[in-house]
Subunit: 311 residues, 2 copies
C-alpha cells in the first residue's frame, strides 16, 4: 500500500471520526473544510474524540464490555493500552486543518470525501479538487445514499474513484464497505481495501455498485417489515422486538435499532417510497406513525424517547 | 385456565415436540394420528425426545450454554433438574395414542392441530373432529403458512378457533405466536395465551391475522434481501453475514440462518413470488441460485452442506 498522506474533506460527525481514526493509526491527516469558521467548529469535536479514545482505552484495561474493535486487539496488555493513549494524543496534535484546495490536494495519496449528502456540493467539490490533485491520488466517498457512478467523471479520475463507507462511532463499529463503480480500477480498489484494514476497519468488499451497500440493503427491508407490523396493528414494538430476539438470538430487536438509527431517518427512508403517499397503504400508515412520533419529539435514543423511553 | 386434557393431532416433527412438551409440563396428552402405522412411526420420535430432554437437563447442571428456556428456570438446582428428568420420563409413559376421532375429541379441553400443511386435509380433519367435540373445546392450528380464517367455519366453533404457532425445537426455541382470525373470541384467545405460558412458552400476541405471523413477516424480507445481494453478484455469503453480525451484534448472519431453515424452504418461498418466473429478475436469479444448490444436494445444515460446509 502506498498511502501515507490522507486528506479528509468535511468535519461533520463521520468526517471528524474518520480523520481522527486515520491519524490515530499513524497516517498524516489533513482535514479540509469550507471556511475558517468550520475549522473552529471542528476543533472541539476532535478534542472530544481524543477524550473518548483515551477513556475507552483506559476502560478496556479492566472491562471486557468496553472493548472497541477499532482501537486495539482484544488481548492488548495494560502497557499496550497506555501506549495507544499516547497515540490518541499524538493524533490530536498532528491533524492539520485547511480551507485551501491546493493544500488539501498537494501531497495527498488518498482523499476521503465526507461532505454534505448533496449532489451539487459533491460535484463542485470534486471538480475543484481535480484541478489540484496529483495524478496518482485515489479519491473515495463516504456517501451513504449516493452512488459513486454519479460523481466519477467529476473527479477527473474515474478509475481511481470509489466508495469507502463507514459506520457511526467507527472506533467501535469498525466496518468499512468498499464499493467501486463500473469504471473503478482493480489497483485502486485493492489499495483502499488495504487502507481500510490499516486503519483498524474490517473491509467489506462489494463486487458491484449497490444502493444501500450491503448493510442497508438488508436493514431497510427488515426494519420496514417490523414497522409495517406495528403500523397496521398486528403487534406492539416490545412484542415484535422480543420475537426477533428470542428467535434469532440478536441482542436488539428492530425497534431498538430504529431508536438508535433515529425515527427521523426512518421517516425519510419510508417517505421516498411512492406508496407512502397513499395514507391507506401499509407504507402510508408507517409514514403517518413515524410522523406522529417526530411531531411529539419522540425521535429516538438521542431525544430520550422513541419507541422506548431512555429518560 | 381450564385446560387439562390436550389432544395433539399429527405426530410430525412439530406435532411430536408439542405433544411431548405439553406432557412434560404436566398436562394429559392424547396424540391423534391417521393410522396404526403412524403410531408405530411416531413412538421412536417420542423416545428420542425423552432422551434429548434428559440429556439437556443433565447438561444444564454444569454447562450454561446448554440452557434450554422451555425446560426449566435458568437458576434451577441440580436436585430440581433431576426431578425434571423424572417428569420427562413420566411424559413419555403418559402420552396416549389414538386413531379414533371420538377418543381424540371426547375429553379434550384443547385440540392442537399439527397435521400436514394441506388445506384439504385440514378442512376434512376439522369437519370430522367437529362431529365429536364437546362444545367448550378450544381448537388451535400450528400452521405456518395457512391462516385460521380459512378453516374457522369447518371447526364448527369459529369463536373458539385460533392459531398457536410454535418454532422447531420448542424446548429451546420457546416462542408461541398466538393469532386469532376476525371471529376469534377474547376468552378463547386468553385461555390459549395462558396455556402457552403454562407449557413453558413465551406467548407472543398478535392482534390481527397476519400471514407469516410476526417472525416470518420480518425474516422473509430480510433473508430475501440477503439472497438478492448474493444472487446478483454484489457480495459473497461470508461477507454479507460478517456485515450483518458486525453491524447488529447478531450471532448469525442471514446465510447461516438460511442453512438452518433449509435451502429447499427458501426456494419454496421465493418460488411463490410471481417475479421469480422471470429469470432476468432479481427473484428469478435468487430462485436459480437456490435451485442449483438443491440439485447439488447443498440444502443446508441437515445435509452437511449449504452456503457453508458442516462436514
Amino acid at each position: 500500500m502506498n498511502i501515507k498522506n490522507v486528506t479528509v474533506a468535511g468535519a461533520g460527525v463521520l468526517g471528524s471520526q474518520i480523520a481522527f481514526q486515520t491519524a490515530y493509526k499513524g497516517f498524516n491527516v489533513t482535514v479540509w473544510v469550507r471556511s475558517e469558521a468550520s475549522i473552529e467548529r471542528a476543533k472541539p469535536k476532535f478534542a472530544a474524540l481524543e477524550q473518548t479514545y483515551v477513556a475507552t482505552l483506559e476502560a478496556m484495561k479492566t472491562n471486557p464490555a468496553a472493548f472497541a474493535r477499532g482501537l486495539a486487539s482484544a488481548d492488548a496488555s495494560a502497557e499496550e493500552l497506555d501506549a495507544l493513549k499516547a497515540k490518541a494524543h499524538e493524533a490530536l496534535e498532528g491533524i492539520r486543518f485547511t480551507t485551501s484546495y491546493e493544500e488539501a490536494a498537494r501531497d495527498a495519496d488518498l482523499v476521503i470525501e465526507a461532505i454534505a449528502e448533496d449532489p451539487a456540493q459533491k460535484t463542485a467539490f470534486y471538480t475543484e479538487l481535480a484541478k489540484h490533485l496529483p495524478e496518482q491520488t485515489i479519491v473515495v466517498t463516504n456517501s451513504s445514499t449516493l452512488l459513486p457512478s454519479a460523481f466519477a467523471e467529476s473527479t477527473g479520475r474515474p478509475e481511481k474513484y470509489l466508495a469507502l463507507h463507514f459506520a457511526n462511532q467507527i472506533w467501535q463499529n469498525n466496518t468499512a464497505e468498499v464499493m467501486g463503480h463500473q469504471g473503478t480500477g482493480e489497483a485502486a480498489y485493492r489499495e483502499v481495501v488495504e487502507f481500510a484494514d490499516a486503519i483498524g476497519m474490517v473491509p467489506l468488499e462489494l463486487h458491484k455498485e449497490q444502493p444501500g451497500y450491503i448493510l442497508n440493503s438488508m436493514l431497510v427491508p427488515f426494519l420496514s417489515a417490523a414497522q409495517a407490523l406495528y403500523a397496521t396493528g398486528v403487534a406492539d414494538p416490545a412484542t415484535i422486538d422480543k420475537t426477533w430476539m428470542l428467535a434469532t438470538g440478536a441482542p436488539l430487536g428492530p425497534f431498538r435499532i430504529l431508536d438508535i438509527v433515529g425515527v427521523t431517518t426512518a421517516y425519510n427512508i419510508v417517505s421516498m417510497k411512492p406508496e407512502a403517499a397513499d395514507p391507506e397503504s401499509v407504507m402510508g400508515k408507517v409514514a403517518a406513525m413515524l410522523k406522529e412520533m417526530i411531531d411529539a419529539g419522540k425521535t429516538g435514543v438521542a431525544a430520550g424517547e422513541g419507541f422506548y423511553s431512555y429518560r
